[in-house]
Symmetry: C2
DNA sequence: CAGTGGTCTAGACCACCGG
DNA sequence: CGGTGGTCTAGACCACTGT
């Protein structure tokens, strides 16, 4: 008796044919039934293989039209963003956190625009430093919408960092992320031990829970920081 | 007769319970058979829902141990990276490309280290500019391994940009990407119309085909560029 | 309208690994 | 060892959409 054909084998074989240009970009592939017959497996097995290739942006499928190799491969890059503490400790360094400032204010205009807050909305503004082995690692400029998370006003952010607190309070929210390069201001330079105008890798993250804005964070990394991904 | 229960419904319901803290982080969830019974569907349907939640980093599954809500949610960010031409034209701007320099050289040490090339390996070094409506958009510093892609030496890169040429020549390769912020050198500043030391959002991409290094590209974006993702 | 992918089912066997 | 997830099968019906 032969081994069962797995969806991984099917996927790999299809990928190999695409890479070898047997199925060039734009080519119409055989239907699932034909492939199942060729590979000697059930249609569901082919289906799973093709679905994963679709998710990875390799092929395009449309009912009735069939399956084609994508012309312009839209490459997808997937980053994993662990908790900062985990990221730092995984390098062998000790993680340390410090609260720089804390105040409750009316949301400034730019924040109200970004979080879709009404006029006069009260927000908690936190500035924090994160260290790896006592070397500055990241400066955090955090705003929390107090009408979405009123408990935040009473929380003690001198020991817990805002992100970890929020993960506990509002787990599994939706978010949008923007990466950019910004120049260090004089103040940022002092916190991060870099000279003014140094390039800083910056992450801007906005978080929502069921349509309501929860928080916005600007995370400034020290010069030299890189974000790595495989794809 | 009732509607069939779909894997999306199952997934959504499980997610809802997690969000509502009915199943808090660390909680052991019921097994697939129990869930299938509760939702009134086949085990395969539950399985698919749970597999997707696993892929999204929401839950953790281990044979015999069962399924748990993740303690520290490892958030995943997925970027779609279209062809530069497509990215620029989708903003309504006109895309223009220009080759700045082209030379065939022995790979410098840092490149040999990164691409795992033997001593004396010949590479094609290209410098290119990409414009959006004639405004500088990106400076590309590209190295192509000629032993992996010998046809590149004869290719005409004055009209085709290297990335589009490579996509045609070597489709669907593996790659690693690194994002960082770097300071503009004087030369880079001239090309990108920014002052020296301006922060530049930089993408460093290395590409492999079946274990062999194909190309390395450093892509310097003008100041102000942002990379956006939802997750 | 007909052909393609998308999904569900019920059952089966297997692989892994915790107790 | 035995319970859990992981996968395959064969069949069925459905949803979308090109012709």
């Amino acid at each position: 008796m032969e081994q069962k054909v797995t969806f991984r084998q099917v996927k790999q074989e299809v990928l190999a044919r695409i890479r070898a240009n047997i199925w060039a970009p734009g080519t119409l592939l055989p239907g699932e039934i034909d492939l199942a017959a060729e590979f000697g497996c059930a249609r569901a097995t082919v289906s799973r293989a093709m679905r994963e290739l679709t998710d990875e942006g390799i092929i395009e499928r449309r009912r009735k039209a069939g399956t084609r190799v994508k012309m312009a491969p839209v490459r997808q890059v997937k980053f994993e963003i662990p908790l900062l503490r985990v990221e730092i400790e995984s390098t062998g360094a000790a993680y340390r956190y410090a609260l720089v400032s804390r105040e409750v204010v009316d949301a400034p205009d730019w924040l109200r625009a970004r979080l879709a807050l009404p006029q006069g909305a009260r927000v908690l503004h936190l500035e924090c430093m994160h260290y790896a082995d006592n070397a500055p690692f990241q400066f955090e400029d955090r705003w929390i919408n107090l009408s979405a998370v009123p408990e935040a006003e009473a929380a003690d952010f001198t020991t817990d960092n805002p992100n970890e607190w929020l993960v506990r309070a509002v787990p599994f929210s939706d978010a949008a992320v923007r990466f950019s390069a910004t120049a260090a201001t004089e103040a940022l330079g002092r916190f991060l031990s870099v000279s003014p105008n140094s390039p800083l890798f910056t992450v801007d993250r906005t978080t929502w829970i069921s349509g309501q804005a929860v928080t916005n964070a600007r995370l400034y990394h020290t010069t030299g920081y890189e974000m790595v991904a495989l794809y």
